[in-house]
């Protein structure tokens, strides 16, 4: 209650509860303080990074010129290369997704604390955590250096990324299930696999499909750029075109990538609906 009411009622606020005091202050002034902090940070960080209005202005003029050089997109000149690399990117995404999804199902189950003992869940969760902490590009670089250039590095990279993403979310989903349903299946004398199949999985299948289709999209996006570090696909061609200042080809490649991703999103949506 506010100070006025309190005074009217004749009660005096307890002095020593700092937690409550701070919360009250935060509620009252939090919004304003937050805005001030944000603005202050923006100014600080901008100066640390060397942003000046002059650089923006120069950039904008460059930007105009750059845009002009992008259009019209040139599909023809390196069409066979583009076609081959694009297909390779799709193949990388498909294989990585299949491997990743297949691996995530058991990993996710093994990481669930309501199903498995701690000596299993801790290492599994640790592995999943490491898998998702690094950007796929970084993982790609490491794989390329370890096993060489080419699509194999790309497939492994994205499989690792998939396990990291799906594994974590799937484990969380499994930990949220109703154990009552599981208990009932156990009571019928079902074996552990059967308990999983009939008691656990039906509760989480829809979400698993959702995560998997999302990851398929994500893999499609990432496979198009992994080529920049040599892991196969259209990324390499894109990067090379950039370095040659062949901006019309760059534009064509980006257009194709965007189109591919949009198609991927539509397909994923359909698959998701089918498996609800």
């Amino acid at each position: 209650m506010d100070a006025l009411t309190r005074r009217a009622l004749g009660t005096v606020p307890r002095p020593a509860d700092w937690g409550a005091r701070l919360r009250w202050l935060a509620d009252r002034h939090g919004g304003r303080v937050a805005v001030i902090l944000v603005v202050a940070y923006t100014l600080y960080a901008s100066s640390v990074l060397g942003f000046t209005p002059a650089r923006f202005w120069v950039g904008l003029t460059h930007g105009g010129v750059f845009l002009g050089r992008l259009f019209p997109p040139d599909f023809a000149t390196r069409w066979s290369d583009i076609q081959f690399d694009m297909l390779e990117s799709v193949e990388i995404a498909v294989l990585a997704s299949v491997v990743g999804i297949a691996a995530s199902l058991p990993m996710g189950l093994l990481g669930a604390r309501n199903l498995m003992p701690a000596w299993i869940t801790w290492p599994v969760r640790g592995v999943i955590s490491v898998c998702r902490s690094f950007h796929p590009v970084i993982v790609g670089i490491v794989f390329v250096k370890a096993i060489g250039f080419g699509p194999l590095a790309g497939v492994l990279t994205l499989a690792v990324a998939s396990v990291g993403f799906i594994g974590k979310l799937f484990t969380e989903a499994v930990e949220e299930i109703s154990l009552k349903q599981v208990e009932a299946v156990r009571a019928t004398g079902a074996s552990f696999p059967n308990v999983l199949i009939f008691g656990v999985l039906p509760q989480v299948t829809a979400r698993f499909v959702g995560f998997s289709t999302y990851q398929l999209d994500s893999n499609l996006r990432n496979s198009t750029i992994l080529g920049i570090v040599g892991a196969g696909g259209i990324g390499g061609t894109l990067f090379a075109a950039f370095q040659r200042f062949d901006y019309n080809i760059v534009c064509a490649i980006v257009v194709i990538i965007v189109a591919l991703i949009m198609v991927g999103e539509i397909v994923s949506e359909q698959v998701r609906k089918l498996f609800q």
């Binding site: 109703s178 019928t188 004398g189 039906p202």
Partner: protein
Amino acid sequence: MNPVTLDIRDLTKAYTRHEPVLRGVTVTLDSEGITAVIGPSGAGKSTLLRCINRLVEPSSGQVLFKGVDLTRLHGQALREARRRIGMVFQEFNLVERLSVIENLLSGRLGYLAPWRAWLRKFSESDIQRAFDLLERLGLGDFGAKRADALSGGQRQRVGIGRALMQDPELLLADEPTSSLDPKTSVEIMETMAGLARERHIPVIVNMHDVALAQRFADRMIGMTDGRIVFDGAPDRLTTEVLASIYGGEAWMH
């Protein structure tokens, strides 16, 4: 001589060292018929039931099911024993995303290999039995419906059906009517008691509602504070006995 159906000897369960939930419970169950366990919350009724099929691990004591000590079993042997004991739950505990027919068939999971369970390849006779049971339960049109589309009473009927699909030799019911309205509670008790008598399956049922228990039970067991304090016919349940079980008379008026 055939061994008794259920012979519980000195069963104790303590979650923490100083608070035993079951204190040396000893009781035998031989005939068919409905045995109702009544008592206040925390008396140990639910724990007693769950110790029988070992959904809860007893701390000590024996549970002899037709001569076999269930407390000594592990792994495959335990599962085979569980197959012979059906259980009905207070909150129905159906797998909500599965259809009614799948829930019924899940009673046969103790007999199915995992790959068959995955592909839902139940035997033809199992499937026909499930349909028969569906009709018998008055749910003939609900087979393909998802379990969470059913009302409470309908769900409990499926729960009873699932337990019966196991072809059990004993039926445990843990507060099967506590989540249902009075009218549906009576219907469920009629369904369960009727089907169990038909198939000569003894039933142990926990209940809050003493009147309902008296109406359907052949034998009543009163528990308080982890001990059995009454064991006899329903008509011997006098006010004094009830007072000793539940403590205090105020609630009875």
